[in-house]
């Protein structure tokens, strides 16, 4: 901890907290700051704009030519069955972001305890958990996800849960490494010496020190989950009609004519996906740089 400054009347101003340091360092990373702003704006837009503009992604507009181009009534035209493309684009954003974030949370909740336990107890538990992680990671995940989703019936929740559950190894392994070093440190030894229970040691001493890599892994995992959901929906196996997601909007836009002559159908979701993933990655970079200058990933 840095020594605090002294105020004019002699009181010691509280030393800069760790969080403040982190935030300061983060704000110096321009790309990450921009990404944060963009992402927050994105989330706000997809949540608020449809409510403000009263957009409806499900109802066919029988008065407009199906597949029409952009117009005053439909800013991005209509899709093949007359639904407002702009509405579908925004609602699709909700689904894509939701799947991305929630499945990353699921991966985190599944993977962190497993990694913690594996690293702390070592021995057989470690072997079982880490080998399981190896097995999961060596499977072509897309294939596994496709099979699971087709067996369980594709929907937003199935996709979220499946992607989430299959993402645990990354978190487990990240934490595992950190736990291995943390458990040897003096404060852990001291805690053990005074009789602190294992559970308490893990949650109160070790876990907070692994906060950094977990947060970073979370951002990257969210990005990957968004891509996976889009790919699944693009293959027709993800979010089902009549729900929209960026992936399944792209699925509807595959034909050569749409690609060549109706870019308003596929460009927005495509570009949005690109920007979202880039921003999440930059954000992750920024957080990593801010949190731990010694850490090498």
């Amino acid at each position: 901890m840095t020594k605090g400054a002294v105020s004019r009347d002699g009181r010691e101003i509280a030393a800069n907290s760790y969080m403040k340091d982190v935030i300061q360092r983060f704000s110096k990373h321009k790309l990450a700051m921009i990404s944060l702003v963009v992402l927050v704006a994105e989330v706000l837009l997809v949540i608020l704009l449809p409510m403000i503009l009263k957009l409806d992604p499900y109802t066919t507009d029988y008065d407009t030519f199906f597949g029409a181009g952009p117009s005053a009534a439909h800013w991005l035209g209509t899709d093949d069955i007359g639904r407002d493309s702009f509405a579908r684009f925004l609602y699709g954003g909700r689904v894509s972001l939701q799947v991305g974030i929630i499945s990353a949370v699921i991966s985190l909740v599944a993977g962190v305890p497993l990694g913690l336990v594996a690293g702390y107890y070592r021995g057989i538990i470690e072997m079982v958990i880490m080998r399981l992680a190896d097995i999961f990671m060596s499977f072509p995940s897309m294939v596994l996800i496709l099979v699971l989703v087709s067996v369980l019936r594709p929907s937003v929740s199935t996709v979220t849960v499946v992607i989430g559950i299959l993402g645990w190894p990354r978190f487990a392994r990240t934490i595992y490494g950190n736990v291995l070093s943390a458990r040897e440190s003096e404060y852990v030894e001291a805690a053990r010496a005074i009789g602190t229970k294992d559970g308490a040691i893990m949650t109160r001493y070790i876990l907070p020190n692994t906060f950094a890599p977990v947060l970073i892994a979370f951002t990257f995992r969210a990005a990957q989950a968004i891509i996976t959901e889009s790919s699944l929906s693009f293959l027709g196996m993800g979010v089902q009609a009549p729900e929209a997601s960026w992936g399944n909007i792209l699925y509807q836009a595959q034909s050569i004519s749409v690609l060549a002559t109706r870019p308003w159908l596929w460009m927005p979701p495509g570009v949005a996906l690109l920007i979202t993933i880039l921003c999440i990655n930059f954000l992750g970079d920024g957080i990593r740089d801010a949190l731990d200058t010694k850490m090498v990933i």
Binding site: T60, I81, G236, Q240, S255
Partner: protein, 566 residues
Amino acid sequence: MKHSFSKAAAVVLASMFALSACAPPSAGDSQPTTQAAAPETKAETGTSAQEDQGTAAEETNAGGSVTITMAMTAPWDTFIPFNTTNGNTDAVLELMYDKLIVVKANGEHEPRLADEWEQDDETGKILTFRLNENAKWHDGEPVTAEDVVFTAKLMANEAITHPRRSKVAFFTGTDSSGVLAPDEEFGVVALDEHTVQFTLKDPSPISYMLSQTFRDFYVLPAHLLEDIPAEEIMTSEFWQHPVGSGPCIYESDISGERIEFTANKDYYLGAPQFDRFVVRIVPASNLLSGLMSGEIDITAGAGLGNIPMNDWDMAQTQENLTTESVKSLGYQYLSINVKNIPKEVRQAVNMAINRDAIVNNLMRGEGEAAAGPLRSNHPYFNQELLPIPYDIEKAAQMVKDSGFDTSKTYVLRVSQGNEVREKTAPLIQQDLAKIGINTEIITTDHPTHLAECRLGNYDFALIGSGGSPDPAESVVNVRPGHVNNFSQNEDPSLYEKGMVEGFQVFTYEERLPIYQEYQMMLRDQVPFSWLYFQNDLVAYNKRISNVHFEDYSLLNRMVWQWEIAR
């Protein structure tokens, strides 16, 4: 020094790759061609190992072989001809195997394995077919009447279960489901080596029998299958490499992706003009790009391989393609599970579907709204079915009055592969919602879809049919007990009208009133809500001609007649 050495090594390696592609012309693998011509190679850029041998030769050999690639959007499910009712499978079966006759869209029948056929005048129960004496199996053995008898008997064999059993139920010597009756003589006999006689239990118009029963009755080689016990026949190795008598000889396949055939140059109806035929499964959105690049030569049509609406404009501008909008007899309907949805609600549903939006908006006019299973210009069409009722308020009221449970979410099933049909699902979902019926859409692959619908695991399902010149085509689908009784109908009145009463008489004038009434009964009972006839938007490479897409929904592509320009 080291740097320039590794640079040089890289250049050498790269050039080795490039030079290896310039193989000297070899005569080794060329197909024996009876036509001398400039090389017209449509060989796939070898993804499969089997192709590698032929590719180099085809690309460089002056007397190159002609490969035609047909694309469809959903896969076949078996090579056992009676073990399916899937149109995608029939498209493949009719290449390898023969049926006795072929059905044309104008209602006429032309010879295939059979040269001539007749129905006896007195009883109307005996159909006799004279087989083409030049017909041979792919292994050289002659096709005889015994093969036909064997096939029919196999389909009636109790030991195997399959969806086309009802075909043989028409013949004497079987029980009502089509299983051989042990103490009776089977109604299919070989009168001599090239004459087969079918004896029907009840008189039936020969036009129906030909258009429906014999339309997909594929003949199997007795000499290769008769020694296999019936219990083991469905899993026999024969099906891994089927031997038929058709214009295409099976060579290899990659399940769900492609099948490769070589042409049967000894085909008794005339050797096909191609040397190789490939059936490929291609997603609808890739059909046009495949056609433009030459990877695909022809679409399968008949709803199995149609150009998507989105691509139609671009397709028509392509210099290398011929495009056609074919008014086919095939139709699409909404099957309603009568066990879950009462009659008043079914009638309401029929009245609530916005067919106009589907035909004029979604399909841009490339189709026609369906009042029933027959198109409005069909000779048996009942004009009283028009106009098709469309009244949302009345329909909503009918649903309310019936006491139907509108708090539940019902299941609307659709399959992948037919792009227009897939897109109608959300439209119909909205139509149903307007009258108080909330549905959830479940999309699956086509074989799963059909299986679930047969079991009745749905409330509403989108299904199609190839249609027919014969007005009784739809009756089996509403016949209690039939495998394709998707609506789970238990009321026999439709069957009795359409296939009992309607089969007692044989002339158009006598059949007309019966089938007119049948159509009104369908409108009243609504096991299906007929939606639309879709024009098949098809495209094919300009070098192919003499293709008759209007026949394709009748399982008749006559590939040996296709003319292929050099």
